[in-house]
């Protein structure tokens, strides 16, 4: 019986998770509080927010568990930089500064920040935290767990077996042969920000053809035993992590794309510029090869756990929804499960669960993702009114009518989501078609690349009528990609990507307002499907509190209003 706060931080996407007697009670990413996208700093503010929401203080905590072993991390940095001598000359001072100035003292900093005794601060291991976050969230009795990310301590990929409340490491692949860093190199070369632009690569991939697959296969070889071996002459992460790709990579694929350069597409969604078509082909090839690598890793996991039918995925690469969809169909496992915060943020949850287990707690599976502090109409209306907004009562049928008239509305519903996906608690909604709705939101509101797809939210019981290959395990948290049925592709044009795929969210009563809106859409004779995207602007974290939502509405004139509880907030006419 324990009250444990899990903490992930100091790399990217810092977060906390509060677990009491094995049950998750609250989780929040630091970026939601600081408003800095992917904020890696120690999540002290997020910790206080989560504790306050649970009516607790830091004094009530039995333990605080950091998701990584700082000493193992330091050893990895020393070994890898010395091994790379003299290429790592530029990397060494930077890497050592990061370790010595903060990471090594993380326990002291957490103790000071939370105002508790240092003896209550513990640490876990990066991949063990990931594995626990995936396995225990799934509710499976036995499962193979595959963790794939950039690097945690010295491990890039690991395979675990979960049995009841135990987790056992079966095999792992060490730095520098990393699937995550392979994808990061592609991201950097395409001119996107690493750790943020991977979603853009995935979206871009649908516009291209995998014509560079042979080159990709040479770049990242899949061995017979399922292990991955990178051609390190094309990468730079092993001697300078700020570069990502090397001159060897440029020799194979040509010069990198200029960061921030605008994308221009024709009516069919094909890049107008020939160079951009090449970049799209490389993205398609990289995505295709990543899926092949993950299939090989899943086969390896299957060979180690031939008697289990569930595969749980975690790590940053597990946020690749397209690959998850492929794994769900082709890996041979009956169930493929990915929890909503599969990246580093989720490590906080796994670390807390692991510590609780050591005290006899039994982790409880995740039924939903709404674990952040709550926001209600009563909290929002005073500020909104003071900022000149108008509030009026509203019912789901009227919201649906507005959406189908072409309006874009924000939806705020109680507690915020944990992880990068908006699942109906901090969402931006629109009608699911026609395609120009997608263009409007991409250009006028999100101010991002025109090829970025939007996800459909659909009533769980009706999902199979509109989409193929939908599974509850991936659809619940929008962590996998399905295919829109051909007959519905035009009607659902705004939520169907250029290749016919869609990242479906299956909605049930855990997102009550979104569920009510979908039911109202169905009652009005529309498909029970809505375009659902995160409530944030370009390079902003998802809105968390009243200040963020009101500011968002005032800063985005193309958003017509905010629905919170049974209140609609709009600008004065």
């Amino acid at each position: 019986m324990s009250v444990v706060l899990g903490v992930s931080a100091l790399y990217h996407d810092a977060a906390v998770a509060l677990v009491i007697d094995g049950e998750l009670r609250g989780a929040l990413q630091q970026e939601r509080v600081s408003r800095l996208k992917g904020d890696p700093r120690l999540p002290i503010a997020a910790a206080h927010a989560v504790l306050a929401a649970a009516h607790m203080t830091a004094a009530d905590l039995d333990a605080v568990v950091f998701y990584e072993n700082p000493f193992a991390r330091l050893e990895h940095v020393l070994v890898s930089t010395l091994r790379g001598f003299p290429q790592t000359l530029r990397q060494f001072p930077r890497a050592m500064a990061a370790q010595l100035s903060q990471k090594l003292w993380v326990k002291d900093e957490l103790a000071a920040g939370l105002g508790i005794d240092r003896t209550r601060i513990h640490h876990d291991e990066h991949h063990r935290s990931h594995a626990a976050s995936a396995y225990f969230a799934s509710g499976a009795q036995t499962a193979a767990v595959l963790c794939v990310d950039g690097v945690g301590e010295d491990t890039c990929t690991s395979v675990w077996r979960g049995d009841g409340t135990s987790l056992r490491l079966l095999s792992r692949q060490l730095f520098p042969h990393s699937v995550g860093l392979f994808y990061a190199a592609i991201t950097a070369w395409l001119g996107f920000r690493v750790l943020e632009g991977e979603q853009q690569v995935m979206g871009l991939a649908a516009l291209g053809s995998p014509t560079k697959l042979a080159a990709m296969e040479r770049l990242a070889r899949i061995n017979v035993d399922g292990s991955i071996e990178l051609d390190l002459s094309c990468f730079a992460h092993h001697y300078d992590h700020t570069l990502g790709f090397s001159a060897g990579f440029v020799k194979v694929f040509g010069p990198p794309r200029r960061p921030g350069k605008a994308w221009v597409l024709d009516d069919q969604g094909v890049p107008v510029d020939a160079a951009d078509r090449h970049y799209a082909d490389v993205a398609a090839s990289a995505q295709h090869h990543t899926e092949a690598m993950l299939l090989a890793l899943a086969q390896h996991a299957r060979s180690l756990c031939p008697d289990v039918d569930t595969l749980c995925l975690a790590g940053g690469v597990a946020l690749n929804a397209c690959a998850n969809g492929i794994l769900s169909q082709r890996s041979g496992f009956a169930r493929v499960f990915v929890q909503p915060a599969a990246g580093d943020a989720g490590g906080a949850l796994g670390a807390a669960w692991n510590f609780g287990r050591s005290r006899g707690d039994v982790p409880r599976p995740l039924a939903h993702a709404a674990w952040g502090p709550a926001l209600t109409a009563a909290m929002m209306v005073p500020l909104a009114t003071a900022c000149g907004l108008v509030s009026q009562p509203v019912v789901p049928a009227e919201v649906v009518a507005r959406l189908w008239r072409g309006q874009v509305l924000a939806l705020v519903d109680g507690r915020s989501e944990f992880g990068p996906r908006a699942l109906g608690h901090r969402s931006l909604l629109a009608a699911p078609g026609p395609r120009r709705v997608q263009d409007h939101i991409n250009t006028a509101i999100k101010r991002r690349e025109p090829f970025r797809p939007f996800a459909p939210a659909v009533l769980r019981d009706d999902a199979a009528a509109y989409f193929d290959h939908v599974t509850d395990d991936l659809g619940r948290f929008m962590t996998g990609v399905s295919t829109t049925k051909t007959a519905w592709r035009e009607t659902l044009g705004a939520v169907t990507h250029h290749d016919g795929t869609a990242r479906v969210q299956c909605v049930d009563e855990h997102a009550p307002h979104l569920h009510a809106l979908l039911q109202a859409a169905q009652a009005a004779g529309h498909p029970p499907v809505l375009l659902n995207t995160s409530l944030n602007g370009r390079r902003e974290p998802i809105c968390q509190g009243a200040v963020d939502v009101v500011r968002f509405l005032l800063a985005h004139p193309d958003v017509n209003g905010v629905v919170v509880d049974d209140v609609l907030l709009t600008r004065p006419s």
């Binding site: 600081s34 408003r35 800095l36 503010a45 070994v79 930089t81 010395l82 091994r83 001598f85 003299p86 790592t88 000359l89 060494f92 001072p93 050592m96 500064a97 490491l169 079966l170 095999s171 792992r172 692949q173 060490l174 730095f175 520098p176 042969h177 920000r193 061995n223 035993d225 399922g226 292990s227 071996e229 200029r258 960061p259 921030g260 350069k261 605008a262 390896h300 005073p382 500020l383 003071a386 900022c387 390079r539 509190g545 200040v547 963020d548 009101v550 500011r551 005032l554 800063a555």
Partner: protein, 233 residues
């Protein structure tokens, strides 16, 4: 406007006036080429974005509903300015917005000193923009600064109003906090310069240390070669 000038004269007027003269004198250098102008405007964009984030944090934390709404409106203006500077720096849109950081000023200083700091920042920013307008006239980016300065003047007035409010109506106390914050900013600048120097010294020392580690590196390559394939636990 006369009242505004009077206010500036009361609180650090010499420094503010100097800043305007300095900006006027250095405008030719700051905007000597499109590339230099772009870099300069990007720095302004980052500063405005930083200010927006600090104000949003203040809006979340202040106990006053009135000031919360004011901070949100102020933050919206700063966000708009950041975008305007960014667009002027890269009219073709072919660039990424620079990374910004936050100093958690509200949490560190408390509301009274935070307001004093914002007041000084607004006054200094407006003075600098006026200096550029003096030098550049109606040509771009002078026109951009002219548009923004209207907001800056309003922010200065509103911030002073709130500062006096949190000082319980005591203007002398508010002026004293502003002077303290001017010193604090000078100290912070000195501290940052020191940190930059020590970082350079550290990098040099670590580079030398790394070079001295050559035998250890050779030994490491032999004893712990790069791992391949699956490692068993």
């Amino acid at each position: 406007m006369a009242r505004q000038r009077g206010l500036r004269a009361q609180v650090g007027g010499v420094a503010v006036s100097l800043r305007r003269h300095l900006a006027r004198a250095t405008a030719w250098w700051a905007f000597r080429s499109p590339r230099a102008a772009s870099a300069h405007l990007l720095a302004f964009a980052a500063a405005e974005r930083n200010s927006e984030l600090e104000l949003l944090a203040a809006a979340r934390l202040t106990p006053s509903d009135d000031r919360r709404a004011s901070y949100v409106r102020h933050a919206l203006d700063e966000g708009r300015h950041a975008n305007a500077f960014f667009k002027r720096a890269h009219p073709d849109g072919n660039a990424l917005f620079p990374d910004v950081d936050v100093d958690d000023l509200y949490q560190r200083l408390g509301e009274r000193d935070f307001l004093a700091l914002v007041f000084v920042g607004e006054a200094r920013g407006a003075a600098q923009f006026r200096g550029y307008i003096d030098a550049l006239g109606a040509a771009e980016p002078g026109r951009l600064f002219s548009g923004i300065i209207v907001d800056e003047d309003r922010h200065e007035r509103d911030t002073w109003h709130h500062l006096v409010q949190v000082c319980h109506g005591d203007e002398a106390r508010a002026r004293q906090r502003v002077r303290t914050m001017i010193l604090w900013m000078a100290w912070r600048r000195w501290h940052r310069a020191g940190r930059t120097m020590s970082s350079m010294l550290y990098a040099a020392c670590m580079t030398l240390l790394f070079v001295a580690c050559a035998p250890l590196a050779w030994w490491m390559k032999r004893t712990r070669p790069e791992p391949r394939g699956w490692a068993q636990p």
